[in-house]
Symmetry: C2
Subunit: 463 residues, 2 copies
């Protein structure tokens, strides 16, 4: 059904976009065949399990010349000895040497192939990889990999990888490194990030970062694209694709191999020329992409952009504790944002109902006993101020009310400007943070990380 919906959308939009519809076979397939060993612990079995447990609705066909049966997640499958019917995508985890022959054999039955198998150009077997690509081209089959961790089409409930499954959301993660991708998915779960898709493209024998950028630029379930790269092969094409994508949605990039030693290590690791970092940096900037410096920032930026496309730079800080309000203020200024100067009307209106110990100048300190009403009214009043572009709402564990009360105030306050929240810390505000999450408001665990989120929303970078 997803496939139909997607195709429908494409037709309506007309033919003026780049040719990306072929990738639907990978991210919204209606059928999949998995090739490999289905013994306990084997990769193909893990992928089969992930697909079944993930709730994939289409046909699932395990294939191994030895046949037999396999049971995963309470479902028993007959293992076919060969593929005999057309499927959208084949996920292949067989020894490298037999991959080209397999692709040739099933090429007329599949649209796309995800080749998990390693043992190609990354270990010097460039000829074998060329053969793989030639066989695929012959049949018009697109290839992801080889030497990759696979793909997730989260909204199509297709988890075609052995990596940990994730919750649905707006982030498409494109990772050159499979291991980075896997760790990032797990961290994303910890950070409560929602994903639209994940792709680890390994050796990029056919499809590469540029194809995925163009594809996710058009994918309606994707609100923000995160890209981890070490190096690209075709710089010109990459710049074009990056610009195309960044014009349509936020693209956040983590580039590995920035330092001299790092670039050397990346070159030996991916076989791709990392090239001068300065060229990449200039390209990211020119294309309008947002570069982050650290892994943690990739998530923070993605979280921010999953909520809002952008925000102005004049920030109002609202807090129930002075110290964290000051830390947020320090960081905002350091990052080039402005502590909004509240209008006299706003100050008066706040003064009219807040206790006298509260500070009504930005940062606005609602003090320790701030409750639902104090937070909600303050947010609404500040939000109406023409001098304010966005709000940073801080809540340390309130002593006199549950943290959910404050969370509910944030959720229910009428405000049409970006609101970034920092509830801290840990167990003590868990209920509040969960209530926020249920309403699509993502929490940033420290004042500084919340400030940085606002920086990205304002189109700035840390470094």
């Amino acid at each position: 059904m997803w496939m139909e919906m997607r195709r429908e959308r494409k037709r309506k939009k007309g033919g003026d976009t780049v040719e990306d519809s072929s990738l639907d076979a990978f991210f919204y397939p209606s059928s999949v065949a998995i090739f490999g060993s289905f013994r306990r612990g084997a990769i193909a079995r893990e992928i089969l399990r992930n697909i079944v447990e993930g709730g994939f609705n289409g046909r699932v066909i395990p294939v191994n010349p030895k046949g037999g049966t396999v049971e995963v997640a309470g479902r028993r499958f007959r293992v076919r000895t060969r593929l005999e019917e057309p499927v959208d995508v084949a996920v292949i985890a067989v020894p490298a040497g037999v991959v080209p022959g397999l692709i040739d054999e099933i090429g007329s039955l599949i649209r796309g192939a995800v080749v998990i198998s390693a043992g190609f150009s990354e270990v010097g077997n460039a000829a074998l990889e060329r053969e793989l690509v030639e066989k695929a081209k012959k049949h018009g089959v697109r290839v992801i990999g080889p030497n990759c961790a696979g793909v997730f089409g989260v909204h199509g409930r297709f988890f075609g990888s052995f990596e940990v499954r994730v919750r649905p959301g707006g982030l498409a993660l494109i990772s050159q490194s499979g291991a980075f991708g896997g760790a990032a998915l797990a961290m994303g779960n910890d950070e409560r990030i929602g994903f639209s898709a994940f792709v680890s493209y390994g050796n990029a024998s056919d499809l590469n970062e540029s194809d995925f950028l163009e594809y996710f630029a058009e994918d309606e379930n994707t609100r923000v694209i995160a890209l981890y790269i070490e190096g690209v092969k075709d710089g010109r094409r990459f710049l074009r694709a990056l610009r195309y994508a960044a014009e349509r949605k936020p693209v956040v990039i983590l580039k590995a191999g920035k330092s001299a030693s790092g670039a050397r290590a990346a070159a030996s690791h991916t076989g791709s020329l990392a090239g001068s970092y300065e060229i990449y940096r200039a390209a990211f900037k020119q294309a309008g992409a947002i570069e982050v410096e650290e892994m943690e920032e990739l998530f923070d930026a993605a979280k921010a952009f999953e909520m809002y496309p952008l925000a102005g730079k004049r920030v109002a800080v609202i807090t129930n504790s002075g110290g964290p309000g000051v830390l947020a203020t320090d960081k905002l200024e350091r990052l080039g944002l402005e502590i909004a100067k509240l209008s006299e009307e706003t100050v008066e209106e706040l003064r009219s109902f807040l206790p006298p110990q509260c500070s009504v100048r930005n940062p606005i300190d609602l003090i320790a006993d701030a409750d639902y009403e104090r937070y909600r009214r303050t947010i609404e009043i500040v939000c109406r101020d023409g001098n304010v572009d966005s709000l940073l709402v801080i809540c340390v564990p309130p002593i006199f009310v549950p943290s959910e009360e404050v969370a509910r105030a944030v959720v229910e306050a009428k405000c049409d400007k970006p609101v970034v929240v920092n509830f801290m810390a840990g167990e003590l505000v868990r209920d509040g943070v969960e209530l926020l999450e249920r309403h699509g408001i993502k929490n940033f665990p420290t004042p500084e990380r919340a400030a940085r989120a606002l920086m990205w929303l304002s189109g700035r970078q840390t470094f």
Copy 2:
């Protein structure tokens, strides 16, 4: 018993240190009286509960003129109408106006008073605060607060605060802001930090940051001191105390009010003059303290120093995944550390047993199927290399072995140099991380945060 042990130690050390033993009454008391309301939800009751649940071994005496009884954590206490026997410390949470009179009344029975009550100089009541201090001085009583969150002496099992209890360890946290302190304790629990002590000193009417710096410099349970300050009143004294402490153990400082807006907010919030940040910065540097820029960094630095006093700057990176190894390398170089050049002997020794696909140049990539043996031997070989000062060991979720295997290799490898680890991510490496923690090895959740930990250990700063 703790008191006896502590006094013993002091005697043995002789009298050449600053006069700090009086503060033992706060952090290693043998008896405590709590003053305030013991109704459900009242502050004094929460503190009583924390003291009892925390396993305090000494006498605990709740006091309220109304008398009655109070039951917390399954123990029933008679509430005395007045204090009639000597105790080490009084924790006071009664209305501000009656605090000076109370101090005068019980002054001859107590050594120290922790005044939780607010309503003093922070709201303009400077006279009341002066009166409090005068009454205390008259009886030779030292005062923490008023307007503070209280104290923890974790190894004395004394949790004299309403804040969340923490596990024992080496970090003494000194916080000018009570709310920051509370949030920091909760975050510390999340980060699995072990604490020796916590003190929120509020208005600093008597004891202030300098007293605590000097005290924890001598406290044998404290391995690292973390300080959150907005401003200090006596700069000269502070610099002296800071230098004294930093000469003895690592002191990590988070200064709030660095920016113009932040300094203004801090001034209105604590009533202390924040002063020029540049002066603070110079003072921190001159004293040999480590300044961090963000709340999260305070913990990362504390974690690093809880494990090691220092480390040289030539780092060897060992990883089972190329991408994260490259990210760590990038960050190390950017932070001014060196990617150690391994000796030819080391390279040969590694080459002799590692699979050919592994990279034996730093960063050393043990690839995805790295197991216990591969990690342990590599760590031991690299550790013996004279060109290597410290090790950064990365583990992304291993596919073929449980993460505990890798953790066990880190724990059991014979290596006398600092080893900083980055196991990621989330659920997938939880068992490994827990095994590490049980052996006192703290995990850093991203390659970049691990790299930053090594930077602090080498005496450098981020900014």
